[in-house]
Amino acid sequence: MNDKQIISLYNSGEHEKAFNGLVDAYSEKLYWHIRRFACSHEDTNDLLQDVFVKIWAALPSFRGESQLFTWIYRITTNEVLNHMRRQKFKAMISLDSEYAILERKIDEDPYFNGNMLQRELHKAIQRLPHKQRIVFSLRYFEEMKYEEIAMITDTSVGALKASYHHAYSKIKEEMQKLLP
């Protein structure tokens, strides 16, 4: 089911079918998008469910000014940013560093099945400022165009290019140290 069909079903009152269509079309994509920031399956699962509840609650206000895809990613990305802020706050209360907590989660993740370079790449991403993590992930992993990322993050293309360039340089430098 594509976005037009989902919106059409919703507008014609077939809400349950529209929601099923949303879940089928987006659950995996959104799961992997969140997963890169949540660093654990459990946190990702919680966030994903929150995201779908928010999407469903906000659907009546979707005016079609942007694509459904962009709108859904924007809700998801805002939830991810909120999650990152909560994690930072929890780290402050527990007198731990946000990065140390995320690094431990990556190291102890029973669902991680990548190699050493991939593990270090994901750790390096967690060392970036919150918004840079988002930009890097959307551009490097999901290969989105800057114009799409601009609509999701409500940031100018120029600022995104600068942000991505900084993030890329930092991570490249860290990854180079791991190579013989």
Partner: protein
């Protein structure tokens, strides 16, 4: 580009390095469709609020204990002025309570006589008081 591992190994590095539990996405659909999915979201909200609730509870405890300490060391509201003086250990204020030397200095008899004469007490009365 020679030393750019991110670019050179992009195809391998961009692959998702995670598994999910078996049947996760199929169960996710039914979980989200079920009314309990909203409860899961609520529980997630409670989990997120837990640190803030802990901080609020700690703050409330500090305020309660602090208030109790302040009240137990403060004079009661219905005490008389005399009781207050006793409680607060102050002497009657004559404008010199901060002048320790004045309060603690010994007053000589001559000073008393001079004062009495100044105030108009006759010499005969002063002699009688000695």
């Amino acid at each position: 580009m020679k030393n750019d591992v991110l670019n050179n190994m992009h195809d391998k590095l961009k692959k998702v390095p995670y598994n999910v539990p078996d049947g996760y996405f199929e169960e996710l659909r039914s979980r989200l469709q079920h009314p309990e999915a909203k409860v899961a979201g609520h529980n997630s909200f409670l989990k997120a609020m837990a640190p803030y609730a802990s901080m609020a509870a700690a703050f409330a405890l500090i305020v309660t204990v602090g208030t109790h300490i302040l009240k137990s060391t403060s004079p009661p509201e219905d005490m008389t002025f005399e009781d207050y003086l006793v409680h607060s250990d102050y002497m009657v204020s004559n404008g010199y309570e901060n002048d320790i030397n004045v309060i603690n200095s010994e007053i000589e008899d001559e000073d008393i006589v001079d004062y009495l004469i100044y105030t108009g007490v006759t010499a005969e009365l002063i002699e009688l008081s000695k």
